[in-house]
Amino acid sequence: MPSYNIRVNGVARTVDSLDPHQPLLFVLREIGLKAAKFGCGLGQCGACNVLIDGRVTQSCSTPIDGVQGKSITTLEGLGSASVPHPIQAAFIKEQVPQCGYCTSGMIMSATALLASKPKPTEAEIRSALDGNLCRCGTHVRVVRAVLAVSGQGG
C-alpha cells in the first residue's frame, strides 16, 4: 500500500492509503484525530478545516498525495481542555458551541486569521469565517470570541 509522510500536530507520521485521491479528512479520522468533521465533502461548509503549513484548508477536498511532506495542524493539536489554546479558551469562555459540529473548523479558520492579522476588524473576522457554516446560530458568539482573543473584547 502506498504510504505518505506527513507531520500531524508536530509529530512525524507515515500513513497508508490505497487511493492517492483519498481526502486527508478520512486519513486523519482513521488515525484517531476526529476533531475535523465531515460536513459536505464538497469544500462548502468548513467543518473539516485544518491548517496545512499554516494555511486554513478544507481537508475533505485535499487528496492525501497532495500533502506529502507537509505539516498539518488539527484542533486537537492546538490545545486540550486542561491546557487550551487562547482561541479555544476564548470559545469556551464565550460558551460558543451549541451542537458544536462546526466548532473545530471555526477555530481553525480563526487561528489562521489571527496568525496573519492579530487584530482583525469585526468585518474581517466575518469575512474570514464566511466559509464556515453554522446551523445552530452561534455566529455572534464566534465573532465575540475572536474579538476577545485578539484583545478587542468589549
Partner: protein, 742 residues
C-alpha cells in the same frame, strides 16, 4: 449501581485550570465511556418512580437518569441544576445519563421545546419527592422532627446544628421505592443557589478542543462502514444491480433487500467509493407535484376535511361603515433541517438482540419501530443516545440508524452508516409547505374585526407511534405509515382582542415529501401570516404597529415584552411605511409579538433593516428580542437558544426553500441550499425576563416564531411593499417593489 455511576460520561474533574472558567463538572464522552455505558444492564425506567430518575450512591454522589437529551441546547447542565437544587446537593456530586432506553425513563421525544418545562419538571418533582423521603428517614435516624431538619450538601442536618446524616447513610444501599409525589413540597425559589445561575455547559470544553465524541466519531472495533444508495427518484423501484461495477474495490459487499440497496466495506473511504461506483438500474418515477404550481396543488387537496380550530366572538356583528377589509395569502415553503453534519449511526444487531447508537431525539419512541422491522422483541432492542450534528426536530438521524440496523442484521457485523451531504439534503424529512389565507377588518379606532385564517396544511396521522423511516419501507419491512409534521396548526388566531375570530384548518392528506417536525413546527409560518397581517391592519388604520398591538392586548406579560422590546429598540411611534424612503437604500423597522402556543413563552421581536432597492437585497442590521419564559434555569443557556432561534429562522426566511422536480429534491448541497453566513448575521440584543416564581417554559423555539413577520414588517416599513412569500429573496423584493405579487 456504583458500577453505573462510575461509567457515567460525566466526570467531576476540574477541567479548566488557569482561571478561564470554573466548571463544576465536565462531560467528555470518550468512546470507552460510551462502551462502558452500553455494557451496563438495564435498570428500572418507570417515569412515575423516583428510582427511575435518581440513584443515591455509596460514595455520596447522585446519579441522574434523564430521558430528554442534549442536542447542544444545554440540558446537560440545566437538568442537573434543577435536580441538585431540589435535592440539596452540590452540582459537583451529580452523575448524569441521557437518552438510553435501558437506563433512562421514557420522558417522550426531546421536542416541542419541552425539555425543561416537562422533562425538567418531572425530574424536579422526583427530586422533591426524594428530598421529602430523605428528611423522613433522617427524622427517625436523628430522632428529630422533620420541621427541624434542613437538606444541604448531600446531608440532612438539624437546623440547630449538630451531627447530620448523609443521603447514602440514610438510604443504606436501598432504593426509594416511591412514586413521584405531585404534592412533595418544592423549594422556595427565593432560596435558590443553583437554579438561575448562568453555569457553563459541561460539554463545551471538549467541543472546543476536539475531544467530544459525536455520533459521527463513535466506533466499534469490528464494525463495517455502510453506505445506502438511494434511488434517483423518490418512489423509484430497484430493477437491477451491476455487481461487477465494484469488483475493483477490495472487500466490498453489496446488500440488496427489495428496493433497499447498500454496500459495506472495511474502511470508510472504500465504502464511499463503492457507493459512488456501484451501478444500478431504477424504475422511472415522477409522482411529486409541479413545484411552480404548489400553491394551486395545496388548495386542490385531497383533504381529510376542514376543522374549525378557533371560533369565538360575535357571529352576528355587522361591519361598521368606516371599516377597512383586507385579505392576503401567505406562503411558507418546504424546508430542510439542513444539519451541518449528515446523519450517522452505528448498530450491532445480533440474532436475539440489538444495540443502536443514535443521535435520535426520541430513543424510547423509536424502540418499537426498530423492534418491528428487525423482528425482535421490544425489550431486546436498546437505543443509546450519542450526540450528533445539531438536529431541530427530526433530521436523518433515525433513518441512518435504521440503515445501520438493517445492514448489521444482514451482514451479521456491527455497521456504521454515514450519510452524504446529498443524502441529508435530499432525504431528511422536511418541514412541510404551509399556505394561509388571512382576512379581517379594522375600524377607524383600530379595533380588529372579523379575523379569519384558513390554513392548508398536512394532517398528522392519528395513532401513529412514530415517523416512517426510509430503510424499512424500501426493504419491504414492517414500518409505520402516515405523516407527522408536528403540531403545526397553533397560533393561527391573533393574541389581540377581535370582535370575531375564526381559524380553519383544511387538512391535506399528503404533502410533497415526507414531513417531520422542524424547529417550532408550523409556528414560524403561522406567526409570519398572523403578525404580518396584524401589521397590514395597523397600516390600514394608520396606527403605529407597537401601539396597535398594545391596544388590543390584555396579558400583562405580553404587554411587558412588547414595551421592553420597544424601549431597547428606541422605537419611534409612527405608522408604517416610513415616510423617509431612501433612494438607493431604504431603512425600516418592524415588530412581531408571539405568545407561543397561546400558553407558553412570550416573545417580542424588533428588527432594523436596510433594503437595497436596486438589487433587492435585505440587510438585517439588528434584531432586538424581549423574552419571558417564566423561571429561568440557566440564563446563558436560554440566551444561546434565543440567539440560535433568531439566526436559524432568519436563515430560513431569507434564503431557504427545498427545490424539487417531479422526481426528486434538486438542491442537495450548500451552494444550492444556502444558509445564513457570518457576513449576514445581524447584531443581536436580547433581554431575558426572569420570573422565578412562575413555571419554567420552553426557550428552544418560541423566538423562531416571530422572525418572519418582524422581518417582513421591517421591509414593509422601509419600502412600502409587503412580502408574503418566504424566502425573501432579492428577486421577490424586486417584484414587490415593482408592484407585482410575489
Amino acid at each position: 449501581m456504583n458500577a453505573v455511576a462510575q461509567s457515567s460520561r460525566f466526570s467531576r474533574r476540574a477541567v479548566l485550570k488557569g482561571g478561564v472558567i470554573t466548571v463544576a463538572f465536565a462531560f467528555s464522552g470518550s468512546i470507552n465511556e460510551i462502551l462502558a455505558q452500553s455494557a451496563t444492564s438495564a435498570r428500572p425506567v418507570d417515569p412515575k418512580e423516583v428510582d427511575g430518575f435518581i440513584a443515591i450512591n455509596a460514595d455520596g454522589t447522585v446519579t441522574l437518569y434523564c430521558g430528554k437529551v442534549d442536542l447542544g441546547q444545554g440540558l446537560r447542565v440545566a437538568i442537573p441544576q434543577i435536580a441538585a437544587e431540589e435535592l440539596g446537593i452540590g452540582l459537583d456530586k451529580i452523575n448524569y445519563f441521557e437518552g438510553d432506553t435501558a437506563l433512562t425513563p421514557d420522558q417522550g421525544r426531546t421536542s416541542g421545546s419541552n425539555g425543561i418545562q416537562r422533562g425538567g419538571m418531572q425530574i424536579r418533582q422526583a427530586a422533591a419527592t426524594a428530598r421529602k423521603a430523605l428528611i423522613e428517614l433522617a427524622s427517625k435516624h436523628l430522632n428529630a422532627s422533620p420541621v427541624d431538619l434542613v437538606v444541604a450538601d448531600g446531608m440532612v442536618k438539624p437546623t440547630t446544628g449538630g451531627a447530620g446524616a448523609s443521603f447514602s447513610d440514610l438510604l443504606a444501599g436501598k432504593q426509594f421505592n416511591l412514586k413521584l409525589d405531585a404534592k412533595a413540597p418544592l423549594k422556595n425559589p427565593a432560596s435558590y443557589s443553583i437554579v438561575g445561575k448562568p453555569l457553563p455547559r459541561p460539554d463545551v470544553p471538549a467541543k472546543c478542543t476536539g475531544r467530544h465524541v459525536y455520533m459521527h466519531d463513535f466506533a466499534l472495533p469490528s464494525m463495517l462502514h455502510g453506505r445506502v444508495i438511494r434511488p434517483p427518484a423518490v418512489g423509484a423501484k430497484l430493477i437491477a444491480v451491476d455487481e461487477s461495477s465494484v469488483k475493483a474495490l477490495n472487500g466490498v459487499k453489496i446488500v440488496q433487500i427489495k428496493d433497499f440497496l447498500a454496500i459495506v466495506a472495511e474502511d470508510e473511504w472504500t465504502a464511499i467509493r463503492a457507493a459512488r461506483t456501484l451501478k444500478a438500474q431504477w424504475s422511472e418515477w415522477a409522482g411529486l407535484p409541479e413545484q411552480s404550481k404548489l400553491i394551486t396543488t395545496l388548495r386542490a387537496g385531497p383533504f381529510y376535511g376542514d376543522e374549525i380550530l378557533v371560533n369565538k366572538g360575535d357571529t352576528g356583528a355587522t361591519l361598521p361603515l368606516d371599516a377597512k377589509t383586507l385579505i392576503a395569502s401567505y406562503f411558507w415553503p418546504m424546508q430542510s433541517h439542513a444539519s451541518l453534519g449528515p446523519s450517522c449511526a452505528v448498530a450491532d444487531v445480533r440474532a436475539d438482540s440489538a444495540t443502536i447508537w443514535t443521535a435520535s431525539q426520541g430513543t424510547h419512541g423509536n424502540r418499537g419501530t426498530f423492534a418491528r422491522f428487525l423482528g425482535l422483541p421490544r425489550e431486546k432492542v436498546r437505543l443509546i443516545y450519542v450526540e450528533g450534528s445539531g438536529c431541530y426536530g427530526m433530521n436523518g438521524h433515525e433513518d441512518a440508524a435504521a440503515d445501520a440496523a438493517i445492514l448489521s442484521q444482514a451482514v451479521e457485523r456491527p455497521v456504521r452508516v454515514q450519510w452524504s451531504r446529498e443524502d441529508e439534503h435530499g432525504w431528511d424529512p422536511k418541514g412541510p409547505p404551509q399556505l394561509l389565507d388571512m382576512s379581517g377588518a379594522v375600524d377607524a379606532s383600530g379595533n380588529i374585526l372579523n379575523w379569519r385564517a384558513d390554513m392548508w396544511i398536512p394532517q398528522t396521522t392519528k395513532g401513529m407511534p412514530d415517523i416512517p423511516l426510509l430503510a424499512p419501507e424500501a426493504a419491504g419491512l414492517d414500518d409505520v405509515r402516515g405523516l407527522n409534521p408536528g403540531l403545526i396548526s397553533q397560533n393561527g388566531d391573533p393574541p389581540y382582542a377581535a370582535t370575531r375570530v375564526q381559524v380553519v384548518a383544511h387538512w391535506l392528506k399528503d404533502t410533497p415529501l415526507r414531513p417531520a417536525p422542524l424547529r417550532s413546527p408550523g409556528k414560524p409560518a403561522n406567526c409570519f401570516a398572523v403578525e404580518s397581517f396584524i401589521d397590514e391592519l395597523a397600516a390600514a388604520a394608520g396606527l403605529d404597529p407597537v401601539e396597535f398591538r398594545l391596544r388590543g392586548l390584555k396579558d400583562p406579560r405580553g404587554i411587558e415584552v412588547i414595551k421592553r422590546m420597544a424601549a431597547l429598540m428606541k422605537w419611534q411611534s409612527r405608522p408604517s411605511p416610513s415616510s423617509e424612503q431612501g433612494s438607493a437604500i431604504a431603512y425600516g423597522r418592524g415588530i412581531a409579538y408571539v405568545h407561543y402556543k397561546h400558553s407558553e413563552t412570550y416573545v417580542a421581536m424588533g428588527m432594523d433593516v436596510a433594503v437595497e432597492r436596486g438589487s433587492g437585497r435585505i440587510n438585517v442590521e439588528r434584531v432586538v428580542c424581549a423574552h419571558d419564559c417564566g423561571q429561568i434555569i440557566n440564563p446563558d443557556g436560554v440566551r444561546a437558544q434565543v440567539e440560535g432561534s433568531i439566526l436559524q429562522t432568519l436563515s430560513r426566511v431569507l434564503k431557504e426553500e427545498v427545490k424539487f422536480d417531479r422526481s426528486r429534491v434538486l438542491n442537495v448541497d450548500w451552494s444550492t441550499y444556502p444558509i445564513l453566513t457570518f457576513s449576514e448575521a445581524p447584531k443581536l440584543e436580547i433581554e431575558l425576563i426572569d420570573r422565578p416564581t412562575e413555571p419554567p417554559l420552553g426557550a428552544g423555539e418560541a423566538a423562531c416564531a416571530g422572525v418572519g413577520a418582524a422581518l417582513g414588517n421591517a421591509v414593509f416599513d422601509a419600502i412600502g411593499a409587503r412580502l408574503r412569500v418566504v424566502p425573501f429573496t432579492p428577486d421577490r423584493v424586486r417584484m414587490a417593489l415593482s408592484g407585482r405579487p410575489s
